[in-house]
């Protein structure tokens, strides 16, 4: 239905508004710019300005107060500093930074303050929220109790993540960190979790590629991308994660589940360091300002599972932090490790050894997600973790021993197959019932007599077989969520039947 708009109606509305417009004295608090450069400005006066208040500069440039001093304030600029000169009048707005939130943003790519950058027209958001707010208190929360299925075998089985949890993804560059996030987002298509992917300080090409991939796998419909690439001014890179978090909180507060991914927080910390140094704040360790811990803690604290009384919505956070040469003892790294509920540690060596995702299972933990894991997965994963732990110990030792006893050899062989089984290609997240079936086949020893090189073929064949012939079993597993004797027998039957037809 086309809406007909008559020009006369518009002019009538305008005329009315203009007649209603009362003449009044515009009283505002002002200051004078005394210095601009490098994306920051100093303003003389403005005695009552508040921390993180927005300022109105000429030419529609917006600034945010970050330093309060006796006679002056310093602000970072969200716009060209060339548009501002010494002597310009600056006005207080009394407002703090806010961004649009809501379902209208789904499928869109926006900048650090929520303005569309995908050329798909304006976003008609019905609600705006302040980007830097205090996290919900303990009374409003409850422990995580629902799994966030990433669709990645190694994670869902051994490092389970619960909705409302904060799990760090940490590793050197090019170890598949972003890939984990993208697969997780793709997997939420079936899970009903809204995703916000925040890209900070990366090349534009990375952003373009990410959009392409998410569109290709049909994941944009439930996703918002918030981007502040490396070419954006530092203040934008600093604020982007807070905006992304705010968009996620909207879903959480409205009884929905959301996931926010920060790719990555090291780059945000770099931007913040740059700002702080320009503002002459005293540098501390690694030249970061003293409050860089607070930069990340107040962001990640906002991830939460709300209590039933507050609607039981959740916001899960998956931040990425980069390491250099595998060193997790850097300032930012240790900070974020201590804030989050666990970490997934990715290693270059594993990555180039062909183990992808390159997760170091020994160093990765999830401190709260186990409670949220579905029972059936917990049953098979317990064995898996044991098999792998034994394998790791023996593998180191076996390099020196020439002849091994039969039991040791068997354990080694099992471990090798388990590692093989946990490998996973990109863009094919796996439903949890299929993960359970596969890991079950492995931990029950059905793969022990297969050549290592054929594990992948077995996986593909077995899953295809289950989808075609064992729909009932899959359904039962999904509904029961626990492997009882009856189900165990059926699963064993499925594996053995398939194995008879399988040609390695």
């Amino acid at each position: 239905m086309a809406i007909e708009i008559k020009p006369e109606e518009i002019s009538e509305v305008l005329r009315k508004q203009i007649t209603d417009f009362e003449k009044r004295v515009d009283v505002s608090e002002i200051g004078v710019t005394t210095f601009v450069g490098d994306g920051v400005a100093r303003i003389y006066g403005m005695d009552n300005a508040m921390y993180s208040e927005l300022l109105d500069f000429p030419n529609n440039v917006v600034g945010m107060v970050l330093n309060l001093e006796e006679d002056a304030v310093s602000a970072v600029l969200f716009g060209e500093d060339k548009l501002i000169k010494e002597g310009d009048i600056v006005k207080r707005t009394g407002k703090v930074m806010s961004c649009p939130v809501g379902k209208e943003l789904l499928g869109r790519v926006v900048d650090a303050v929520g303005r569309p950058i995908d050329g798909k027209g304006p976003i008609e958001a019905k609600e705006w929220r302040q980007v830097d707010v205090v996290a919900p208190g303990v009374i409003m929360r409850q422990p995580v109790n629902t799994p966030l299925q990433t669709g990645i075998k190694a994670i869902d089985s051994m490092i389970p993540i619960g909705r409302g949890q904060r799990e760090l993804i940490i590793g050197d560059r090019q170890t598949g960190k972003s890939a984990l996030l993208i697969d997780t987002i793709i997997n939420q298509k079936e899970e009903g979790v809204y995703c916000i992917y925040c890209i900070v300080g990366q090349r534009k090409s990375v952003l373009v590629r990410t959009i392409d991939i998410l569109e290709k796998y049909g994941a944009m419909d439930h996703t918002i991308i918030v981007a502040a690439t490396a070419s954006e001014p530092a203040p934008m890179q600093y604020i982007a994660p807070y905006s992304a978090c705010t968009m996620g909180e909207y879903f959480r507060d409205n009884r929905m589940d959301a996931l926010v991914c920060y790719d990555d927080l090291s780059k945000q910390a770099h931007a913040y360091r740059q700002l702080s140094l320009l503002l002459r704040r005293p540098p501390a360790r690694e030249a970061y300002p003293g409050d860089v811990f607070y930069l990340h803690s107040r962001l990640l604290e906002r991830a939460s599972k709300l209590s039933d009384a507050h609607g039981a919505g959740s916001l899960t956070a998956l931040p990425i932090v980069e390491t250099y040469a595998g060193d997790i003892s850097g300032y930012i790294q240790t900070n974020v490790i201590s804030i989050t509920d666990g970490q997934i540690f990715l290693e270059t060596e594993l990555f180039y050894g062909g183990i992808r995702p390159a997760i170091n299972a020994g160093l990765s933990v999830s401190r709260v997600g186990g409670a949220a894991q579905i029972k059936a997965m917990r049953q098979v994963a317990g064995m898996l973790r044991l098999d792998l732990a034994q394998y790791r110990e023996l593998a180191a030792f076996a390099q020196f021993a020439s002849d091994l006893d039969k039991a040791t050899r068997a354990q080694l062989e099992r471990g090798i197959r388990m590692v093989e089984l946990l490998k996973q290609d990109q863009y094919i997240p796996m439903p949890v019932d299929e993960q359970i079936m596969l890991i079950f086949a492995g931990t029950e020893g059905h793969l022990d007599d297969l050549p290592v090189g054929s594990i992948k073929a077995f996986e593909d064949g077995f899953l295809r077989y289950c989808r075609a012939e064992k729909q009932d079993l899959k359904k039962e597993l999904k509904e029961k969520r626990i492997i009882d004797e009856d189900l165990k027998a059926k699963m064993t039957e499925a594996v053995t039947t398939f194995k008879k037809t399988f040609q390695p």
Binding site: F21, D26, V40
Partner: protein, 179 residues
């Protein structure tokens, strides 16, 4: 960027150095340097670019000082501020010094902007109102700005009272956009 409190320290030092009685003249002089910096890129470059030798800088500065009749004390202060690397913050120092001077004199500085020159009787009324508002003797700087179109704009300390047509139009625009 300047450290917290630094501008005030040098503003105070400046006033003490030139003496309170000479302050208006000295402030006008130092202000002319600041304006020159804002107007001329070359001059600013001369003062801040480390590629210039301090000798070159000093010579040029001396010539300029002579031509605009800068007093010795002001010249020395400028040189000192350059050495400290704070010349880009001269504007802040001047503003603080001016405020400190006016405070000591129990005077208030007010900027009045109008599109056309205002009449004498209106001026008298304005002065008495402003005296009441600030509870101090007022020193008014008149600025003619035709782009205001009409009305008057008054700046007292860090408050701006705007009844100009330009300001009203801006408010109206914001109102219309907001709907």
């Amino acid at each position: 960027m300047i450290r917290p409190g630094e501008a005030k320290r040098y503003a105070k030092a400046f006033l003490d150095n030139v003496g309170i009685e000479n302050a208006p003249q000295a402030l006008a002089e130092i202000n002319s340097i600041n304006e020159l910096m804002a107007r001329s890129k070359e001059f600013k470059n001369l003062l801040v670019n480390p590629q210039f030798l301090s000798e070159e800088r000093e010579n040029s500065l001396k010539q300029i000082a002579e031509s605009i009749k800068l007093s010795d004390k002001v010249l020395r202060f400028i040189k000192h501020i350059i050495e400290l690397g704070l010349i880009l913050h001269l504007s802040e120092i001047i503003r603080i010094a001016t405020r400190l001077y006016l405070e000591r004199k129990r005077r208030a500085k007010v900027t009045v902007m109008t599109p056309i020159e205002i009449g004498k009787d209106y001026e008298n009324r304005l002065i008495s109102t402003l005296k009441k508002l600030t509870d101090r003797d007022v020193e008014i700087e008149y600025v003619i700005d035709p782009t205001l179109l009409g009305g008057i704009l008054v700046k007292v300390d860090s408050t701006m009272y705007d009844t100009s047509i330009k300001g009203q139009l801006r408010l109206l625009r914001n109102e219309l956009i907001r709907r």
